[in-house]
């Protein structure tokens, strides 16, 4: 008796992952092939189990054979032109994520007084793991999407479109965006995890730590802090990717910087944000001649909005000027 069961199992294992419209045809053809191979091997003698095993082994493992049949045989999630960039971006994203989460973990260890350090430590390991997996998944997803949609990462329509070799001053050095990313990460971690470490000691006899921000108010605006970080990191990643000052980078900078300004307004509009005790203590320090400084503290939110807007405006103008100077 022929071991039909083994053949059936083999054929099923090959065809089960194939597209349904080719499945039954491949199944019939495979069975006729196996039967031909057995006839060839055994002639008129009834093939035994060993013959069947030899023939099926010759055909290869079911998954190998299914791979050869599959129309997706040569496809990859992320293939050649994307893979180089993918590896590059992934490395940076993972490093930055690990850095941010480690910084958060360290702050946690030093500020957490009620829980034993090893619990905080294990918590950090857990967060690090989840964070890295998420970062990996996110970058992979984006690039898989590029691959699938065939989005071009470089203008390669013709040789004329090849970018010129950037001169020294139009190149963006590697450390510039990386530093930018780290600053964004540090900012987000400190504001989200421990805004209370920004503050000062006040009082002559009984020195007391007074935080600059109201922790509760900051926490309630967590989404704005995330938005700051995402805008900043997004811009810097693009800068890293571009590697030079271009008009595209200038446009992106104008967009992200303007959005950051809007978010800055939203952030400082919150009356609860700044700790009034801090301001009154500060005003006590600067009296008399230093009334100017005292005034600044009275209108601290406006002062911050002004400084940040100015800094972002300078950033926008520099990027635009450089883009028009170098990207012709």
């Amino acid at each position: 008796m022929m071991n039909h069961d083994l053949i059936e199992r083999y054929v099923y294992a090959v065809t089960r992952h194939l597209p349904s419209k080719m499945r039954s045809d491949v199944e019939a053809e495979l069975k006729s092939l196996i039967s031909d191979m057995l006839d060839d091997r055994c002639g008129d003698v009834m093939p035994n189990d060993k013959d069947i095993k030899v023939v099926l082994t010759e055909l290869g493992t079911p998954l190998e054979l299914a791979g050869k049949y599959s129309p997706d045989n040569d496809k990859a999630l992320i293939s050649a032109p994307y893979y180089i960039k993918y590896k590059y971006i992934l490395k940076i994203v993972l490093l930055v994520t690990a850095f941010g989460l480690t910084l958060g973990g360290l702050i946690d260890i030093f500020t957490e007084t009620e829980i034993a350090w090893y619990i905080v430590f294990t918590r950090w390991i857990g967060t690090l793991f989840t964070g890295l997996v998420m970062a990996f998944g996110f970058v992979t997803f984006i690039f898989a999407l590029f691959e699938r949609k065939g989005i071009r990462l470089d203008a390669m329509d013709g040789l004329e479109d090849l970018p010129t070799v950037p001169q020294k001053q139009e190149r963006i050095p590697f450390w510039d965006p990386v530093a930018g990313i780290l600053v964004s990460v540090i900012f987000a971690v400190i504001f989200l995890a421990c805004p209370q470490i920004m503050g000062g000691y006040f009082g002559d006899s009984d020195r007391q730590w007074i935080a600059f921000f109201n922790t509760g108010a900051i926490r309630s605006m967590w989404y704005i802090i995330i938005a700051f970080a995402v805008l900043g990191i997004g811009r810097e990643v693009y800068k890293l990717y571009e590697g030079r000052y271009t008009k595209r980078l200038a446009i992106l900078t104008v967009i992200t910087d303007s959005m950051t300004i809007v978010f800055t307004f939203l952030f400082f509009r919150n009356k609860e944000l700044v700790n009034m005790r801090f301001i009154s203590e500060m005003q006590n320090l600067f009296t008399g001649d230093a009334e100017f400084v005292s005034n600044i503290f009275a209108n601290l939110s406006l002062f911050f909005i002004g400084v940040i807007t100015l800094a972002l405006a300078i950033d926008m103008i520099t990027t635009i000027v450089k883009a028009f100077k170098y990207d012709i």
Binding site: D25, S32, L33, D40, Y69
Partner: protein
């Protein structure tokens, strides 16, 4: 990677394109896969079934081959033959192959003194 592995990799690459030409050359008459393997092996070309069968299917989906199931015999078999397009492609491919062989021979014979 040792020498044998590198060599077998090169041989595989060389063979890959030639198999299509072999297949097309034999399929003016409708033939089923396993018979095609024996036909080719008679001419000294070994093709594994697990390479040939998926290849036949791919060529069919490209419109180079067409197929019919012959159910009249005791064992139903799928017969493949070249389409009109397939034949045209075969003729051009064959011409290209002959030119390549000629050039290759010139190149390799020129190097005879080195071997």
């Amino acid at each position: 990677m040792n020498k044998d592995e590198i060599l077998s990799g090169f041989i595989l690459e060389l063979r890959r394109g030639t198999i299509i030409l072999c297949v097309l050359s034999k399929l003016k008459i409708p033939t089923y896969g396993y018979n095609l393997i024996s036909l080719l092996s008679e001419s000294g070309i070994t093709v594994e079934a697990n390479t040939l069968y998926p290849l036949l299917r791919r060529l069919e989906s490209q419109g180079i081959l067409e197929s019919t199931w012959n159910t009249e015999t005791a064992k139903p078999r799928k017969y493949y033959s070249t389409t009109e397009t397939g034949n045209e492609i075969y003729i051009m491919l064959k011409k290209h192959w002959q030119e390549t062989v000629q050039s290759m021979n010139t190149i390799l014979e020129g190097n005879n003194d080195e071997s």
